[in-house]
Point group: C2
Chain length 382, copies 2
Amino acid sequence: MRILILGGDGYLGWPLAMHFSGQGDDVAIVDNLIRRQVHIERGTDSLTPISPLLDRIVAWREVTGREIAAHVFDVSDYARLLALIEEFVPDTIVHLGEIPSAPYSMIDRDHAWKTQRNNVESTLNVIWAMHEVAPEAHLVKLGTMGEYGTPNIDIEEGYLEIEHNGRTDRLPFPKSPGSFYHLSKVHDSHNIQFACRIWGLRATDLNQGVVYGIHTDDTERDERLLTRFDYDELFGTALNRFCVEAVIGHPLTVYGKGHQTRGFLNIRDTLQCIELATRNPGPTGEMRVFNQFTQVFSVMDLASEVCAAASHLGYNTRIEHLENPRVELEEHYYNPTHTGLLELGLKPRMLSEELIETVLHTVERFKDRIRARGIDPATSWR
Amino acid sequence: MRILILGGDGYLGWPLAMHFSGQGDDVAIVDNLIRRQVHIERGTDSLTPISPLLDRIVAWREVTGREIAAHVFDVSDYARLLALIEEFVPDTIVHLGEIPSAPYSMIDRDHAWKTQRNNVESTLNVIWAMHEVAPEAHLVKLGTMGEYGTPNIDIEEGYLEIEHNGRTDRLPFPKSPGSFYHLSKVHDSHNIQFACRIWGLRATDLNQGVVYGIHTDDTERDERLLTRFDYDELFGTALNRFCVEAVIGHPLTVYGKGHQTRGFLNIRDTLQCIELATRNPGPTGEMRVFNQFTQVFSVMDLASEVCAAASHLGYNTRIEHLENPRVELEEHYYNPTHTGLLELGLKPRMLSEELIETVLHTVERFKDRIRARGIDPATSWR
């Protein structure tokens, strides 16, 4: 297949590009390198040393003999996006090209708007370009489980059968997201759903949980193929951050009570899920929605798992409850459905002590690169 | 009260500014004059000759001895908005400063993004500015009934009690809007609701129906105080357009079957509704939602009413069904609730033949200004 990956230089985008390319798919990447730039702005960095995008491409060619085409521009440049899609003729456009940080979007007005502008404009450009020059393509768009918030009812996959005053309809699941970043994804979902309905486009919206893990089959083939691994307050996800904290003797920082419960998945399963969605497009005229995670944990569950694994490696780790910088429920009902990807054949890798030990060992290897300053939360929702 | 009106040069904004000012409220206007500019771009214009904003201000002073402060800038300029709010210290911010046209937003990618950018950024700026310098102010934001679309269930006012698998929650009403413009208002609603929830702001979201009518008590006091009256394909609303068509002998242009059903209200009732919301703010920490219309009609109902009234004035009018440029259901269930504003004391003016005759007489008066070229739809949803 011809696969265009927007955001192909990112934590998930780069391993995904290799994953498809390694199977013989024709892969092109677009990225504006914004994550690298934000790290420069903040004085933080990936734990893993990551090669420049063009070096990654060269390394991949040397290791596999395969070509990944890389285009460095901002998807807000509609003319360039349109020209690329017209020339490349993708079967699938995987859109990961968004700013993915809740805290970043809450810093101030400028960061809130930068996030919503980047994300909403990029997705709007993608759907207009599809409408204009690639109406047969399949859009696979990364959303987030955070779009739903924590309602007091079961979370379904994108839509809900509602009975009200004796009448029924299947409507978009009502969403109550928890940051301007999460809101940007809700806006995207509404725009995409509309485009499918009126233009007959075909899209899959993947409401992804929190990803953990550091390696995929391809990142392990050559040091230059490593993907990024963020542990700072803006881009670090919980389990990854806990592993870094354990190794440097920093308490595991749990925000508030830690009973906040979310869906999680291994980075390898992210690749599997996106591949399943890509190889099995849904019907035209519809935005199909999958909830993309494999297990539900509370933040405390994860911290305890990391404590246990770290202890077996000889680390003496403790949990510290920080005042929660976010405005969120710390005790809530949480029961999201996630059957769609399992029905397509997803074989989940459950979280294991072995996985956590692998992450801990990788953190040990790059321990001298850790900048502890960036870990504790400086951004408050209030 | 100190009332800041964003979009105070518009069809509703200008009469509203006079309405409050006439009652002794301290009124300031912000407007970027975008509607006037788009008309220049398109070679169309308001039926009524409207004075420049600064002449309106002078005329109002001459007629009433009262001052309305006018600020011409774009609300996307956050620094200026912030400074103005900090200086003016509004009790209420009425936000009408959005691009209000569904067809305009469907012209192409640039118009879609211009609409979403203008609307979402302006509202985001307002809520951030309130958070920073005016947390006690009340935001009265103009939304649209078009946010809901036409679900097969009763439409409630903003929220819906949902029972699902034996559990219940009150969640935002699920929305399926019909254009990138309507989507921008859905995005706004989500952003405002979040801001109220996390920052304890106070807001009222007015999901307004289609407004008709040309005069308010104040616009009739002096020719220079007239409000605009649009009848072109982009900004004209159905009943207003039909009246212009009747007077120039153009068939009344109904899109498709005309069984599309919507909520409608008189421009005088718009002022009444916004005043009721302003004088009776809801609790802090909540986005209160009212559905702002007084009657439900199908497009054919309205066309027939205009035919009848025009016929009594001696016009021989016929209805022409155009191929529908929009993608929308032409036969659908429609039963929206609208009790909130009635409970606050709204006294609706129902649509009457007399009202239509008044509009027809005003159209006759300005007949030589009509540019028929701009009436028929040139913008398709497909």
